[in-house]
Structures are given as structure tokens and as C-alpha cells.
């Protein structure tokens, strides 16, 4: 009887112990909390891994959280916007934040970040960046300036690129320039020996002496590339002392003058801004234009896959090439422009720490290299330069040379609107409605009437 009692008690105790152990083991599972972080991203075929890497980063962060014994897990919900460009996307997102429906994280063109900061929609990141050097410590210092507003850092650089003048060496040779001259152009541009007007002259020779109808083509809509011409002629658009928009009439007129001369010489088509993007690319990559002012990613996104330009470095540089934006006069400074896209975090996100860590993982060198090599964008960290995949993607390595002279668009909250006015000025010149001086006056009048705190010199 006693034996029976002891046996029963032992069995019950064992069952209790096993049950308790199982319950204790299962407890973290029951208590696990899923944090949903909403990511706003534009549907953009030139960078699908910008949101894609954040989604992948969630897996890494969750493993890290598990290892830490945290009960939290992160799930990224991507909210795609159909905006046709980063400017439209930013305007849309500002409205979304305005009605209190903003996401936790968003992807934006860097020059818009201060517009979000001005309205208090974006989280200041300086302390977080310092707290997680393992994630952010090796991002190129120069790129951080594209993420800064007057009182601090508000974004994390996601990529960079280089804007340049691509040129068709075959056409230049056909126009009578010898191979040595044609091949030396990139060096001459970098040293300040090749000038903006010489580009027009070369383009004129091509139009006159070959079947190619176009000399210089540029984007047909508002965007960053043509700002390179204004920077070459000395306009930086922001007063360094006050951070306010700065418009200098003579410098604006000088840059507009370049476009005016281009149209007068029938080198830049009068209807450039009325043409479709695809038509412009087609004209250049099929040998109908001498120069195409655009960015390095165009090789990977369009030139190689769509128009079959040689993907082998040597074969490519035999007939094609690129130069930095030349100096306005001999001995002057050449320019190139980079237009980083950035990750940013909403000021009112409930989990800022997790959002920062998530973006830290999304900025990992290997994930960023995936984006860089598949879309021909430049990496953000020094260690990426040694990645064999990055080394193999020769356009990236070659374009990195331009970073020595690169500039950014100003991080002023009104620059997006100013750029629209500048674009209208270019359109006015090319379609013959305005002279260079009138275009400069137009930009100043329009900006002074519609924007705030514009300094005019």
C-alpha cells in the first residue's frame, strides 16, 4: 500500500515536472510579440532591392533578437507608391504624414529629407548612428552630408551613383576626331582642360559630319542631371552661411547660356523636353547622338540589357565612354553629381530602436552590394569595394573615380520646387520662348514669388 502510494506520488511528480518544463519552454513562444514596421517605397524598377533589402534585413534582425532572448520579432510591411518619380513620391508622402497615416520607415531622394524634418515627420538619427557603429561606422563620410539637415542627421544613405556625359566614340571618330583625342577626353575633363563649350563644338562636328541628328541629349523631365551644368557654372543654390536658397543671376544666365548655345547650334534638340525618356535613350544607344547626360545606372538598367552595348569593359570603352561634367572654361573645375537615395524613420514610430537596427542590417555590405551590382549603383561602404562581385562590376569601379569631384543637390526643403522652376527655364530656352538672360530672370521671379526666404544676388 505504501509502495503504491510512493509510486503514485513519484509518477505524479514526474508528470508535473515534465508538464512544467514543457510549459516553461513554450512560454516565450506564447509571449512572442510581432512588431509590424511599415515601409513606404516607390515602385521603382531601377532599385527593387531598396525595399527588398529591408525585408531581408528583418530575418537577420529577428535572429539577433532571438539570440538576445528578446520576445520581439519584426515584420516588414511594404507599402508601395506608384509615383512616377522621387519628387512626386515625396509630395505624396508629405500628405500621407500630414493626415497622420505615415509609415514607420521610408525611402526618399536625399534632397527631400529636410522637407520631412521641417514638418517634424522624421526621426533625428545622430545618437542612434553613434550607438550602432557596427552598422553605420563604415559608411563613406562624404555620403552622410547628403542625409543632414541644419541641426543633425535625419537619414541613412542607401546608395550613391555618378552622373556624367556618356559619349559615343564611334561617332566622334566618324566626325574626324582621332582615337587619341577621343580616348583622352575623360582625363581632359577631370583635369579641367575640356570645357563645356568644347563639348558643344564636338557635338556640332558630329551633327554636321555624320548621319547622327543629335549632339547632346538630356532627360526630358525635372531631375538632377542638368543641375550638374548649373554647378559647373558656379550655382550651388544654397547660401552656406544661412542655408537659405541662393540664386545668382549671372551664374544662372551663364548655365542657361550653355543650353541656349546648344539649341542655336542645333546640337541640343529644341524638343528635348517633349521627347519620351525611352526615345532619348534609344537615340543615344543606337548611335544617333554624340552625348547623353545621365547616370551610371543607365548602363546596367538599359544600355546593356536593352540595347546590347558590350558588357565587357574593353569592348565597351572601345566605342563608348563617359566624361565628368566639364569645366566652364579651361583650368576650371569639372563636376559630377551624385544623388543618394536614403532610408529614413518616422518621428512617431513606436519602435525607433528596432527601426534603426533594421535599417542597420539593410545597410549591410553584402545586401547593399546585391543592390549595387544588380542595378549599377555605387556602394555605401568601403568594404564593398573589395567584394569580388563589386570588383567584377567594372562600371561601378570606374564611376567611383568621379566621386572625387562629386557634388550633391542641396538638402534644402524647397529645392524640389526650385528644380521644377529651373526645368521650366530650360524648357523655355530650348523651345525658343526665352533667352538665357530671360530664363535667369524667370527663375528668380518665379522662385521669389512662390518660395520663401530666397536670397537673390
Amino acid at each position: 500500500m505504501i509502495h503504491w502510494k510512493i509510486g503514485t506520488a513519484a509518477l505524479l511528480s514526474a508528470a508535473l515536472a515534465v508538464g512544467s518544463a514543457a510549459f516553461l519552454a513554450a512560454t516565450p513562444l506564447f509571449a512572442q510579440e510581432t512588431v509590424k514596421l511599415e515601409l513606404w517605397s516607390r515602385q521603382d524598377p531601377s532599385g527593387p532591392l531598396r525595399p527588398g533589402n529591408v525585408v531581408k534585413a528583418a530575418e537577420r534582425l529577428n535572429k539577433e533578437l532571438e539570440a538576445e532572448g528578446s520576445s520581439k520579432r519584426v515584420e516588414v510591411v511594404v507599402r508601395e507608391s506608384p509615383a512616377k518619380g522621387f519628387d512626386d513620391d515625396a509630395l505624396q508622402l508629405l500628405k500621407v504624414f500630414g493626415i497622420g497615416e505615415g509609415p514607420d520607415i521610408f525611402i526618399a531622394a536625399h534632397e527631400w529629407i529636410c522637407a520631412f524634418q521641417e514638418d517634424g515627420f522624421v526621426l533625428k538619427l545622430d545618437d542612434y548612428i553613434a550607438k550602432y557603429p557596427q552598422h553605420f561606422g563604415t559608411i563613406f563620410p562624404s555620403l552622410w552630408s547628403s542625409a543632414k539637415c541644419p541641426d543633425g542627421t535625419y537619414a541613412i544613405p542607401q546608395d550613391a551613383e555618378a552622373r556624367m556625359f556618356f559619349y559615343n566614340k564611334k561617332l566622334l571618330r566618324e566626325a574626324g576626331y582621332d582615337a587619341a583625342f577621343v580616348d583622352a577626353m575623360p582625363e581632359r575633363a577631370l583635369s579641367g582642360d575640356l570645357t563645356m563649350d568644347e563639348v558643344l563644338e564636338i557635338a556640332k562636328q558630329v551633327v554636321d559630319k555624320t548621319k547622327a541628328p543629335y549632339g547632346v541629349l538630356h532627360r526630358p523631365n525635372k531631375g538632377p542631371d542638368y543641375i550638374m551644368v548649373f554647378q559647373a557654372y558656379g550655382s550651388n543654390f544654397v547660401d552656406p552661411q544661412t542655408g537659405k536658397l541662393l540664386l545668382e543671376r549671372d551664374k544662372l544666365a551663364a548655365a542657361f547660356g550653355w543650353f541656349e548655345r546648344g539649341v542655336k547650334e542645333k546640337v541640343i534638340p529644341a524638343n528635348n523636353t517633349a521627347m519620351e525618356f525611352d526615345t532619348l535613350r534609344k537615340e543615344f544607344y543606337t548611335g544617333n547622338a554624340a552625348f547623353w547626360m545621365y547616370g551610371i545606372w543607365d548602363l546596367g538598367s538599359v544600355a546593356f540589357p536593352t540595347y546590347g552595348l558590350p558588357q565587357d569593359e574593353k569592348a565597351f570603352f572601345a566605342d563608348w565612354g563617359w566624361i565628368a561634367g566639364p569645366a566652364p572654361q579651361k583650368g576650371g573645375a569639372p563636376v559630377s553629381l551624385t544623388h543618394p537615395i536614403v532610408y529614413a524613420i518616422a518621428a512617431d514610430t513606436k519602435e525607433p530602436e528596432l527601426a534603426v537596427r533594421l535599417l542597420g542590417h539593410a545597410s549591410a555590405a553584402d545586401l547593399n552590394t546585391d543592390h549595387a551590382v544588380t542595378t549599377t549603383h555605387l556602394g555605401i561602404k568601403a568594404e564593398q569595394l573589395e567584394d569580388p562581385r563589386y570588383v567584377k562590376a567594372w562600371p561601378l569601379a570606374r564611376a567611383t573615380e568621379l566621386l572625387k569631384i562629386t557634388k550633391f543637390l542641396p538638402n534644402n526643403s524647397q529645392f524640389g520646387e526650385l528644380n521644377g522652376i529651373i526645368f521650366a527655364g530650360i524648357q523655355g530656352i530650348e523651345s525658343g520662348r526665352l533667352s538665357a538672360q530671360q530664363a535667369a530672370d524667370f527663375v528668380i521671379e518665379e522662385a521669389s514669388a512662390t518660395l520663401e526666404d530666397v536670397i537673390v544676388k
Partner: protein, 317 residues
């Protein structure tokens, strides 16, 4: 036996009953329409007026109530005079050439020929109105493409030996927006005028023929006088419609080159939605509403539309 007083009471009751029935009918039949009119026509105007007195910016924040937007309209906006001038050319040109004149020509010609052929041609002219606007403009973009592939250039270069392709989007953008809008606008006039021409008693034409009237005399002395009211209606309606519509222009020229085809309504859109200046856009839009009302009143007076809406003096059984 009922007294006169009783009869009066019954009559009053009857009147009271019918008055309350009238009120009920009013609420049942006109109520929904009045609610919709208030919701979609009156309330937006009130909101627009309210927004125009704010500094509503791109993040939909209002920090102050101000008359600054009106100061901008009158003092600093130098594009406005050009935009108003262009709008006048666009509205008047489209209306005069296509919506009324061409619509009238289509109605007269398609009612003068055999019924089957007339219906076919009217159907063809209705196609642009039935197509989605994006598709319609895509066809236009192909037709006026500045390359050799454009339809117009193919015809001009191959049939007329033109050397270089024309770029109509840059050289004749205003004509293009008038024509592309006119091709659609003409169909509405065509249908209304056709219906009116069909309503003219046949014997008038026979009598005129007996009197020796030719085709043009019949049009001048029978058809046109009978179309007075439809013409007045189409003119006023289409003027208002042209003043506020801009989707075809936005799709075809984006308002360019430069500001060459930015009509007033498109200008409001560009200011409000492309630049995020919602307060300023609202102030500009308010002027559009005022212009619309003024144009409608002038048209009403000019065409004596009141007479059109009078009750007929003779009752026809």
C-alpha cells in the same frame, strides 16, 4: 346638412393635406438631388474658399489664416496674365471652330445624306468620346510624334515630299490642344444639333423647295433658326466645360513647352499638386469658379436663355 362654414373647413383641410403631400413629395423626389448638389457642389466651394484663406502647404498643415494667397494672385504671379490669355484663345478657339461650327457642319451633313451613312459617320465621330482619354491621347502622341514614325510626318514626308519631320508639339502646341479637344467636343454638338434638325417638320423643307430654295437657303432660313436654342445651350455648356477641363492637355503636352499650353485649370493643378501650394491653388481655383459663374450669367443673358425655359404659351394636346 352642411353649412358653408363646414365646407370651408373641409376645403382647408384638403388644402392642408395637399400642402403636406407636396412637401413630402418635394423631400422624396428632390431631396436626394439637393443633398448631392450640396455635397458635391456647394460644400467643395465652401472648402475651397476656406482653404484659400490659409497657408495650407504640401504636408496639409495650416499654421495661420491669411490673405497672402490673394496678394500673390494680384501682386506677384507674373504667369497669370499669360495663362488667362491662353485660356481665352483655347476656349474661344475650340468652341468657335469645333464644338459649335464643326459640330453643326457634322450634324447638317450627316442628316443630309442617307440615314445609314449618316449614322455611321456620326458613330465614327463619337469614337473619341467613347475611348478612354489616355488611349485617345496616346494615338495623338503617335500621330504628331516629331520623328519619321509619326502619322502626320509619314503622310507629309511620303505623300508631299517634306524633307525633315515636323515637330508640332513644339511648333504648334496651341493648335494641337484645340484640335485634339475639338475632335471630342464636336461630337456633343453634333448629337444635339442632329436631334434638333430631326425635329424640324419635314414639310418646311418641301415648301422651301417648291419656293425654289437651294440647299444653303434651306440651311440659312429653316435649319439655323430652328437651332438657335441648341446652339445657345451647347455654347454655354461647352464654354464652362472647356474652362475647367485639362486632362487631354496634361496628357498631350503637360502644359508645355514652357507654359505655352498651360490653361487656367491646368495652372491651378500645377500650382496645387505639382508644387504642393494648396492654399494658393485654392485661391486660384476660386477665381475659376467666379469666372465660370460670370460666363454662365453672361451667356444666359446674351442668348436670352430665360425665354427657352419659359412655359409654352400654347398647350399642345
Amino acid at each position: 346638412m352642411t353649412t358653408i362654414a363646414d365646407e370651408l373647413t373641409i376645403e382647408r383641410r384638403g388644402h392642408a393635406g395637399s400642402a403636406s403631400r407636396r412637401r413630402t413629395n418635394f423631400v422624396i423626389f428632390l431631396g436626394p438631388a439637393i443633398v448631392l448638389t450640396i455635397l458635391f457642389f456647394i460644400v467643395p466651394v465652401i472648402i475651397d474658399i476656406a482653404v484659400s484663406f490659409t497657408d495650407l502647404s504640401r504636408s496639409l498643415h495650416i499654421s495661420e489664416f491669411t490673405t497672402e494667397q490673394y496678394a500673390k494672385v494680384f501682386r506677384t504671379d507674373r504667369r497669370l496674365s499669360q495663362v488667362i490669355g491662353l485660356t481665352f484663345i483655347y476656349v474661344f478657339g475650340t468652341l468657335a471652330i469645333f464644338n459649335v461650327t464643326f459640330g453643326l457642319i457634322l450634324a447638317i451633313t450627316t442628316t443630309a445624306i442617307r440615314n445609314v451613312s449618316g449614322s455611321f459617320f456620326r458613330g465614327v465621330w463619337l469614337l473619341p468620346r467613347m475611348s478612354p482619354s489616355v488611349l485617345y491621347i496616346l494615338l495623338w502622341l503617335w500621330a504628331v510624334s516629331p520623328t519619321e514614325a509619326g502619322l502626320v510626318n509619314q503622310v507629309l514626308m511620303q505623300a508631299f515630299g517634306l524633307d525633315a519631320p515636323l515637330d508640332l508639339l513644339t511648333s504648334a502646341p496651341i493648335a494641337l490642344i484645340i484640335i485634339s479637344n475639338g475632335f471630342i467636343g464636336a461630337s456633343m454638338g453634333m448629337i444635339i444639333f442632329t436631334a434638333a434638325i430631326r425635329g424640324i417638320p419635314e414639310h418646311l423643307f418641301h415648301a422651301a423647295a417648291v419656293d425654289g430654295a437651294g440647299t444653303f437657303a434651306k440651311i440659312r432660313f429653316i435649319t439655323l433658326p430652328a437651332l438657335r436654342w441648341p446652339i445657345s445651350f451647347v455654347t454655354i455648356y461647352q464654354t464652362l466645360s472647356l474652362l475647367v477641363s485639362f486632362e487631354y492637355i496634361l496628357l498631350l503636352t503637360k502644359g508645355g513647352p514652357f507654359y505655352d499650353t498651360t490653361v487656367y485649370a491646368l495652372y491651378v493643378y500645377r500650382r496645387a499638386f505639382e508644387s504642393g501650394q494648396y492654399g494658393y491653388g485654392a485661391a486660384l481655383a476660386l477665381f475659376l469658379i467666379v469666372i465660370g459663374v460670370v460666363v454662365a450669367l453672361i451667356g444666359w443673358r446674351f442668348f436670352d436663355m430665360e425665354r427657352l425655359l419659359q412655359r409654352p404659351r400654347i398647350e399642345v394636346h
